[in-house]
Structure formats: C-alpha cells, structure tokens
Amino acid sequence: MKKFFSLVLILGITALLYMKRDIPIPQDTDLRTLEMKESENKKIQDHVSSEVDQSIVAKINDRVDDQSSAKSDGLSTDDIADVVKVVDNLSDCLLKKTCQDFKENERYYDPNEGSYHRSLVKSLSFLRERAQYNDDVTITPEQLQKVMAISNDEVQAEGLLLADALNSSQLVAERCGDFTNSNILNVLTLIDKRKDNTQLMNCLNKFIQRGSSMALYDVAEFLSSSAVDVQIAAQTKKTYCPLLASKDESYKRVGLKYRSVMEKYDLTCP
C-alpha cells in the first residue's frame, strides 16, 4: 500500500512540474535566441546604414582600379565623406575582428584573405585617385593610422599611397613597425625621400629586429639600390656579416645579397 501511495505521490509531483514547466513547446528556446539575434543584427545593420549612403559604397566597391574615373565619378564632397566613413568602419571592424557581425559586410568578404579587405582597398584606392584632382579627401591622421595598422599587404600599400598623396608620409615613418614584410621596400623607399636619417635608421632597425630572412633580404635590397649615408649602411654590418657563413639557404642568401651593399658602401666583413 505504501509503495502504491509513494508511486502516486511521485506521479503527482511529476505532473505538477510538467504543468508548471517554463518552456512547454520544443524549439522555443531556439526561437527566442533566434529572435534576439535577429533584433541585434538589425540594430547593428541599421547603425551602419544610417551612417553612409549604401549606393556610394556599391559604386566604389564595383569600380575597377586605375582608370580615369576619379575625377568624373560625379561624386559630391558629401559622397567622399561617406567613403571615408566606410574606410573608418571597415578599419575599425577589421582591427576589432567584428566585421562578421555586419551582415552587409558579406559582399566585402574575401575568402582568399579570409577577411573583408577588398572593399577597404577599393575605397582607399578611390580616395587616393580622388586626392589627385580634388582637395576634398579629409581623412584624419588617426583614421590613416588605423588603416596602416591592419596587417594586410594591399591595405597597407594603399594606406601608404594615400598618406603620400595627402602629404602625410610622416605617418608612415611613425608607424613603419606596423607594416608587413612584403611592404618593407615600399615603406623604406618612401621614408628615404624624407631625408631624415633618424627616422630611416629607426625603421631599418625595426625591420632588421624581426629576424625574418625576408625582412633582412629586403632591407639589404633597399640599401644596395638607394644611396643612404655610409654610416647608416655600416651599422647593419653587425647583423649581416655573420649571415655570409650561414648554412641555411634562407639566411645565406641574405648574406650574399649583402655583398652588393658592401661593394656599394666600401664595407668589409671581418
């Protein structure tokens, strides 16, 4: 009898719990989460959309580089300001790794780089070409520095060219340490024209200290083709001379490349 009542009690409690359950219908949790995500996404998308005219973005994104269109695109100064906003938004989200939160960024996604750089490159390229003909490209030094901090060869190269077009190559010198190995020659060639040996030496050291044979090779290439002060070239001996004896091809070639620097500046290795 006791057993029977115990069973009835258990069944009663179970039934009560069942009636009181919070989520009675399957999929409800998923549904609510989905709704929440959708509303959040909506919020983010609205935020971005309200900032820039999307037709301008489309126009820039679909254009082809290197064509005589920058002066005849028919874009107003306000439109150019919108392009700057796109640059800023994309730089921000790339640095914070949040671009995927913006649904509209899908069109910018570059599976080859695994990121959203293509549109940024196109926008920067457009601004660079625009700056040749108009003086309405107003991008702040902070915005340019953000662009240069993005570790992508083409974005940085465009950032460098835009800085040059806006007479801001000083920014490149200040942020040279942010540039990828592939851009070393581009950066050093630009800085060399500033005729500031301290800045040049500072950047050379930053690249050399990376230890990468690609960085070392390109620094040697730069020294051998430019005409820097002999003292600057001489300071690199300490790093490069030992590489002549390296057994590793990737470093030995650096030493061999350095021989042309030695020939040019009359340097000798012990």
Partner: protein
C-alpha cells in the same frame, strides 16, 4: 527456372546497353577513348565555348593530337614564370644557393597538375560543345525563371515568419496560469503552427535546391561571374557547326582554368579578362603561389605558424611545396600554411603503436589491444608503395621503415591535402604525372623536367636543359598552327633558327662549358664572346624552338651611385668612376663577358667615355657588381608608341602591375618623386608605362609618370 532467370537477365542487359549507348554523350565518350587527348578526360559540360574573335583569348591552346606541343609550351611558361619570381630572391648558384629556387620551379610545374591537369583552353569541333553551357548564354531567360522561384520562396518565408510570430505568442500565453482547457487549446495550436512551419520550411528548401542545385548550379555559379558571363562577346552558344575554343571550369563552375582561380576569392583575373589567356593566367597563378612560397621559405624560423617547414637540416622543401599549395588552396594566412601536418603526427602515432605491437607479438607479450592493432594495420604496412615511403622518411626522420598505404589509415589527411599529396607523389616520386606522360620523351622540356626533379631530389643544380627552356620563346609562337614535322621558326629570321636545329643554344653551352674562356685582362677592347656549339646534344622532335632574340635584350644598371671599376675586385684604388658622374642618364650596357668574376660583370657602355678616369673611359669598359646589371626585355605591344630608355618621375602614387590593361598588382608601389627608367609607353585608354624601379623591379604603371 534457371533458364528463365538467365533469359530475363540477358534481356535486361541488352536493354540497358541499348539505353546506354543511345545516349549520345556516353557513346561519344566510349568511342573516343582510344583517340581522346587529356583535356577530353573532363566532360564537355564543364567547357565553355568562347567567341573566337575576342581579343583577350591567348594560348597555348590545346588542339587534338597536339598535346605534346601544348604541354611543351605550358611547361615552358610555367618554368619561366617561376624563374622570373624566384631567381632574384633565391638563386646564387656560385655559392650553392639553389635548392629553394629549384623547389619553387617544381611547385609551379606541379600545382597545375593537381588543379586542372594542365588544361586551360582547348579547340574542338561543335560535337564537343555541350549544350548545357548554353545556359550561360541564355543567362537572362534563366534569370527570369529563377527570379520567379525566388519570389515564391520569399512569400513562403514571410508565411513562416508569421507562423513563428504566432507560435511565440502561444508560448507566452502558455506560460501564464490558464485553465486546463486553455492550455489544451494552446498546445493544439502550437502543434499546428509547428507542423505548418515544418512543411513550409521543407518547401523553401526544395525551392533553394531549384535555385542552386542540379542544372541550375551552373546558373547559380555564373551569377558570380559579374561582368564576364553575361557578355555574349566572350561566350557563345553551341548552335552552329565549326570549331570552338573552350575554357575549362571546375565541376561546380566556381573555379576556372589551369590554375583553377576561384571567382569569388580572386575576382581580379575575371575583371581584367586575363582568365582568357593561358599565358597571363599562368603568370598570375604562379605569382599567387610565390606569395606564400616566399613568405613560408623566408620566415619558417621566426614564425611560429610555419614550424612544419623546419627539417632536421634546415628547410623541409617538400613540406614547403605542400604548405605553399595549402595557402593557395585555402587562403594566404600564415596560420593555414601547415594545415596538412596534423595527419602526419597521427600517422606516426599509429606506426609507433604498430611497431610496438609487432615487437610484443614476437616476444609473446602482446595484449589483446596489441593484437588488434597488429591485425588492423599489418596488411597496410606490408603493402608496397616505395614512393610513399620515401616521402614519409623525408618527413619523419627515417623512423618509418615499412611500406605504407596511407589511404587505409583512420587519420587520413583532410581530403584536399590528401589529394594534393597523392599528386605530389605521382609527380615527384612515381614520375607519372600528365607532364611526364605528354611531354615528348625526346623533347628538351621533358629532359628539363627530369633535370628539375633530380635536382630537387638530390640537391643538385644541373642546368643543361632547364637553361634552354629559360631562353626559349614560348610567347610569340603560342598559337601558330603546327603542321607535323614542321620546325617552329620565327617569321623574321627563320634561317638563323633553322641553323640551330637540334643544337643546344650557344648561351647555354657558355654556362656549361667546363673551361670557359674568361677574359679578365683589364683595359682590353670590348670582346663579345662567340661560342661555337661543339656537338649536337639534344634532339627535339620538333626541332629547336625559337630562342628569345638577343637583340631584344636590354641591360641597364639599376640603383643609384653604382661603382665602376677597372678590375673585378673590391679595393679602393681600382675605382674608375660612379654612375652618379654620368649626368643622370639611364646607363645601358652590353655584357662583354657573361662569366661573373668575383661577383663582377665586365660591361661596355658608350657613356663610360664621359668618365674622367681614362682607365674606364678609354675603351668604355668597366667592371660592375653583377647584382646591379639587370636584363630588361621589351614587350611586343601593338599599341606601343615609343621605345626610348629614359628616366621618369612618378607624379602621384601608383601600384606597379604585371602588365598594362590593369595587370595584377605585383606587391610594389611607387610614390611621388620616385625615379624610374621608362622602357616603353603604351596607350591603352590612358597611357601605361613599362618601367624599372631604381632597385631593378620591373612592371607597368598607369599614367602618373613625368618623363624627364
């Protein structure tokens, strides 16, 4: 009974055969097995027929029974593209630095084997023009149909959204305290809504399939072509007789051509139209490969993500090939370079367990688990594939000594990497790739291929045939119709080239002459060394291919302030001038002696007579550090308007591109005030300049050059 069954089977077999052979495509496939060439191993439905008149179409183009000639050119272009990129960074043969360079040549020759079996363009008659690809030409009709389906899908989606809203409301109600009757009603309503959502979702999925699946996969992919696919000036339907030039696509129509460029990941070749040129797309594909190759080979010691390239004695070159392809296939992140390596660790783990089990079996101490491992893997480890085992021993420091069929392991490679690995084995060890099969055995290119593989295997640098490939002009004779037995000769100086038939080229002999005549006497009149071919070494079935004309070669001194010396050594007293003394002119030179002495070339330039020091001015000859002498070849551009070497200054920042017509970006830029040597100017809409930078980098820039 038995007879009846046999009869039924026989009748069924006959019917099946009739049905099978009545299918034209199948019949054609079977009938042509004995004569088909390698591009025909792919179905006709993944070839798109091109408008013959489109200006961007450029060979090599494979034609029936012409595969040997096609393969020779593809091999030549691949090797030349790879050499152009890797030589400046990785090739110092006099100092025994060449292994990484040779590995890149191998990578460039091997990757398209994996990607496309070397197919890009083929020429076929209308029988091999698949009507399936007409869908592309009929793009707009298809687009209307798909738009209608999409509208239907959107309507369904709205219904589903509305049901979900109601369902949410019911859920909220259900949470409130309600009567049993209300609860029952709510549950019933929720069940009804769920069922509706399920049904509509199913319909949406089916519509999605209609849009992207089956025959519409082609349309779906083609919508990504943007600006290329909709153009009837490029693609033509298969509704006429005659011959078509056809471009290979992947089975899902997302990737194209010999390097299988993905249209979404690499839209550049589609925007530029270079996808229609075998020659240009080889160049762009090899450049993309080099981007990762150079980074991985350079930084493997300093970048934690590239650790798979560290071998016992430095760089592991075969892993470098695999990692380069991993990047090519999966994106150029450094984190992706070593994605293939995990499976090797797994394999090694299994092998170690297996050898341990074998030991315990022989000593009689094996556990049940050991026996299980032994039984599971014994057959595999005893099967025979010597090529694979060689590769594995390269990998795993000689710890694996059995013959392994990697396919049978549970921890097999990710599918893509595994296929690439197999193709690498086929190319590198088994030497039975398509390149091996279709390059004529007696051809220079085949011998060069063998030379290259031997070089990478043995860490040697034999160059007899490779050097011939590098000086052969595969560019200008790409599409010449080849008649059997005809030697390929250039139009303008065919006599000269005929005389070279079957002979190794003089400049190649010069490099391999065991005792080259080296004239190191200072202040002697400039001597252009003439080499006499000593023996017929190579017999190419087509005769000698045309060599690049020596006349088109331009040598200039790159960089600023180059020392000129009267003897080949770095000492202060032998300096007879500096290029800075030459009034800012571009210094073009002739190489007097191709032998590099102590790192120096002996060169002649008329400008040297302007030097104040008689040591070099007298005969206009000086010694210049060989790195500063760069060879520049003039291109054949129809629109070319001038060809004068002169300096120019960059007026506004520009990217350096591989060619005019918006070629691919080379990775280099020029900023305002940079000085360049202008080789030529081409007007293609706007002016484009063929330039060499001060550090000797060559390319094309879009306007923005002020000629000095």
């Amino acid at each position: 009974m038995k007879f009846k069954t046999t009869l039924i089977i026989a009748v069924l077999s006959i019917c099946t055969s009739i049905v099978y052979f009545s299918n034209v495509e199948n019949f054609r496939g079977l009938a042509s097995v004995s004569t088909r060439t390698f591009p025909d191993y792919f179905p006709d439905s993944i070839y798109f027929s091109l408008n013959d008149k489109h200006e961007a179409i450029e060979g090599p183009i494979e034609r029936r029974d012409d595969e040997g000639r096609y393969m020779k050119r593809v091999f030549g272009l691949l090797i030349q593209a790879a050499d152009k990129l890797a030589k400046k960074d990785w090739y110092y043969p006099n100092d025994n630095v060449y292994q990484t360079y040779n590995t890149f040549l191998l990578t460039a020759a091997m990757v398209p084997y994996h990607e496309s079996r070397y197919v890009h363009l083929r020429q076929r008659d209308s029988e091999q023009c698949s009507v399936k690809t007409n869908g592309v030409v009929a793009h707009k009709t298809k687009e209307e149909a798909i738009t209608a389906i999409k509208a239907e899908k959107d309507l369904l989606q709205k219904e589903v959204d509305s049901y979900r809203y109601d369902l949410n409301f019911v859920n909220e109600e259900y949470k409130k305290k309600m009567s049993r009757e209300d609860n029952r009603r709510n549950r019933a309503e929720a069940a009804r809504l769920n069922s509706l959502i399920k049904a509509k979702d199913k319909s949406i999925k089916e519509l999605n399939k209609l849009i992207t699946g089956g025959s519409n996969a082609l349309w779906s992919a083609s919508s990504k072509f943007k600006g290329l696919i909709n153009r009837s000036d490029i693609f033509v339907p298969c509704d006429s007789a005659g011959e078509f030039k056809q471009l290979l696509f992947s089975y899902d129509y997302n990737d194209v051509g010999i390097m299988m460029f993905n249209m979404k990941a690499n839209p550049g070749p589609f925007e530029r139209g270079s996808i229609l040129s075998t020659n240009l797309i080889i160049s762009e594909g090899v450049s993309l490969l080099y981007k990762s190759f150079n980074r991985n080979a350079s930084d493997y010691k300093t970048n934690k993500y590239l650790s798979c390239f560290q071998g016992k004695n430095g760089l592991n070159h075969l892993n470098l090939v695999r990692g380069t392809w991993s990047n090519y296939n999966g994106g150029h992140f450094d984190q992706r370079a070593c994605r293939f390596i995990g499976s090797m660790s797994c394999l090694k783990h299994i092998y170690n367990n297996y050898t341990s089990a074998v030991g315990k079996m022989s000593s009689g101490s094996a556990s049940a688990e050991d026996k299980k491992i032994y039984n599971e893997y014994n057959y595999t480890f005893q099967s025979n594939d010597k090529a694979l085992i060689k590769l594995i021993t390269e990998y795993e420091t000689n710890s694996l000594d059995a013959n392994i069929d990697l396919n049978s392991f549970a921890c097999r490679f990710k599918e893509n990497d595994w296929h690439f690995f197999n193709n690498l084995v086929s190319f590198f060890y088994n030497e039975n790739s398509y390149m091996h099969k279709f390059l004529p055995e007696s051809s220079i290119e085949r011998k060069a291929l063998d030379e290259l593989i031997t070089n990478v295997k043995n860490k040697t640098n034999k160059r007899q045939y490779l050097d011939q490939v590098l000086v052969t002009n595969y560019q200008d004779y790409l599409d010449e119709k080849y008649e059997e037995g005809q030697a390929l000769t250039p139009d303008n100086n065919s006599d000269e080239n005929n005389s070279e038939e079957n002979e190794i080229r003089p400049e190649v002999i010069a490099k391999h002459d065991p005792e080259p005549e080296v004239n190191d006497v200072v202040n002697e009149a400039p001597i252009v060394q003439e080499y006499e071919p000593e023996a017929t070494i190579v017999v190419d079935e087509e005769g000698a291919l045309p060599a690049k004309s020596e006349e088109s070669k331009v040598y200039i001194l790159k960089g600023r302030n180059i020392n000129l010396r009267y003897s080949p050594e770095i000492v202060s007293y032998n300096r007879c001038g500096n290029t800075s003394d030459l009034g800012g002119k571009v210094v073009t030179v002739e190489i007097v002696d191709k032998e590099v002495i102590n790192g120096f070339y002996k060169v002649h330039s008329d400008l040297f007579n302007e030097l104040s020091s008689a040591d070099c001015a007298k005969d206009s000859v000086a010694y210049v550090w060989a790195d500063f002498v760069v060879e520049k070849e003039s291109t054949k551009a129809e629109e070319k308007v001038e060809e004068n070497l002169q300096y120019g200054t960059i007026s506004s920042g520009v990217k350096i591109r591989t060619t005019y017509k918006r070629g691919a970006w080379t990775g280099r830029v020029l900023s305002r005030g940079d000085r360049v040597v202008v080789i030529e100017k081409v007007v293609w809409g706007d002016p484009w300049y063929h330039i060499v930078t001060e550090d000797g980098f060559e390319g094309w820039v879009w306007q923005n050059v002020a000629l000095e």
